[in-house]
Amino acid sequence: MDGKEETKYKRLPGRGHRRGGFISVSLTRCSLYLADNHVLAVDSTGFSEDYKRFHFSDIQAIITRKTRRGAFWSAFLALMMACSFMGALFLEGEPLRIFFWIFSGTFLALLLVNAFRGPTCICHIMTAVQRYQLPSLNRLRVAHKVIEMFRPAIDRVQGKLIPEEVTFDQNEGMLHPAHPLRQSPVRGHEIRHDDGTMHVMAFALILLDGILTGINLFHHTVIMATLSSLLAAGYCICIVIALVKQHDTDIPSSVRRITWASLGFVCISYFLSYVLMVISMVTSKPEKIATQWDVYRAMLNLSPHDSSLVMGIYAFVAACSLVLGTLGLVRVMRHRNGSANLSRAG
């Protein structure tokens, strides 16, 4: 049969992995190939390959969605690099310092590679019968490049948009401004009103903790350090509740973002607390550390003036708390005032 003739394919830029679940045993590599009349999506495990062909005449749309995965990785790598760097600077013992220098160099290289590759995205190709994710197009720059490579081939097969279609498109565009109001409800998702009380509590506690930590920087007392720890536990609980409550509500995206950033800050501050705990254990006399309470007391006694590392951690926590608390409170109060004005007008 003539059909046995192999089609000539040209490899397209981009390579990604398809997620098979939370913990995937086999790793599926995905890539795209261009033929005369179709695009071939290949999922390869190394032992076998699965193919999906999208003929140019069937492609209706390509949807690109920017994600924050790249930014998250950059933040994570920067944090790891900073920790390794601090280890390399402050730890004693030449072999250990060399080890941490190598680590910080590796994290720096990974951070640079991630930054160079640009923002991340998720790309879907749409036909009349399906919407299929293209994991190989996971960077915006690559996605735009590949779509521009498709475009002439699709135009050749489908032709250009005829004036009626373009007019229709433009009319819709004129009817709806570039940044319209929120659409609601969406496919059964009812948008509830939330005045953001839990957010207010969380941000107020963060702000208070920031002020206390700031005072601790200059005048350290055990009582204030204990109060700060209790506040941290309090705002951690409030943030988790606020994140759960904000789902399917009219809370503005800026407030949502700040709440998620606060959760990230909580994770970082807990990690830094762990670092402080290790430092306090190392600097205390071993006979004084018998129980968990002794470790905690030693940590509370650790003053920012004891070392530059502790001072740095306190300054970082105070600055982040003040910025997040103030920003969050301002945004939530603005949302609450807006809602109150609307209900008065209604």
């Binding site: 749309a61 749409m126 009349a128």
Partner: protein, 189 residues
């Protein structure tokens, strides 16, 4: 016409957002989106063809004798009506040839899955080297797989047979090492 929805929140996206130059936030979840829409979206699916009724002096379809033949099958040559004509990669096929081609893997465009025997053979030659003892079993299997599937269909994207060659060479060296080792061991006793 199908509607396009946000790939995160699944909210329908209005036509005003299509073919924008830059990323535009989704009206519901604010996620930055770029939607490139092509004419096929507005034109939708083409309606299916119906076979025309046969008149006196016309050739009839092999599968529907009462319908007018419009094209011969590019593989078996049978006359086909518009209903039976399956257009695939610029070729006109009858349903039977499509089915046979799919079963026997003769139509490349219908292939959805392929086993990469060259990759299997190469991994079978390489990975067991970590625990050298099992190469006495895996090396002959790697050579067998390479020879048995030398002419089997390989990756659809086109690969050379270099993996097969490497698998044979590496497995051959492993067998040689075992042979030399055994001869040395026996001669010493």
């Amino acid at each position: 016409m199908e509607e396009i929805s946000c790939t995160k929140c699944q909210a329908p996206i209005l036509a005003g957002y299509y073919n924008s130059r830059d990323l535009i936030p989704c009206p519901t979840c604010d996620v930055p989106l770029k939607i490139d829409v092509f004419p096929a979206f507005y034109r939708g699916l083409r309606p299916g063809k119906e076979g025309e009724a046969l008149t006196d002096d016309q050739a009839s379809c092999f599968y529907h004798p009462q319908k007018k033949a419009v094209v011969p099958c590019d593989y078996c040559g049978r006359f086909l009506c518009a209903l039976c004509d399956v257009e695939l990669g610029g070729k006109h096929l009858c349903p039977a040839c499509v089915e046979t081609g799919k079963k026997k893997g003769r139509i490349v465009n219908l292939d959805r899955h392929r086993v990469l025997y060259d990759g299997v053979a190469l991994r079978l030659a390489l990975f067991p080297m970590i625990i050298f003892y099992i190469t006495i079993v895996t090396a002959p299997i790697a050579i067998y797989l390479s020879i048995r599937h030398w002419n089997s269909p390989m990756s659809a994207i086109g690969r050379t047979k270099v993996r097969f060659v490497l698998a044979i060479v590496i497995s051959g060296l492993q067998i040689l090492a075992w042979t030399v080792g055994l001869i040395y061991f026996i001669s010493r006793r």
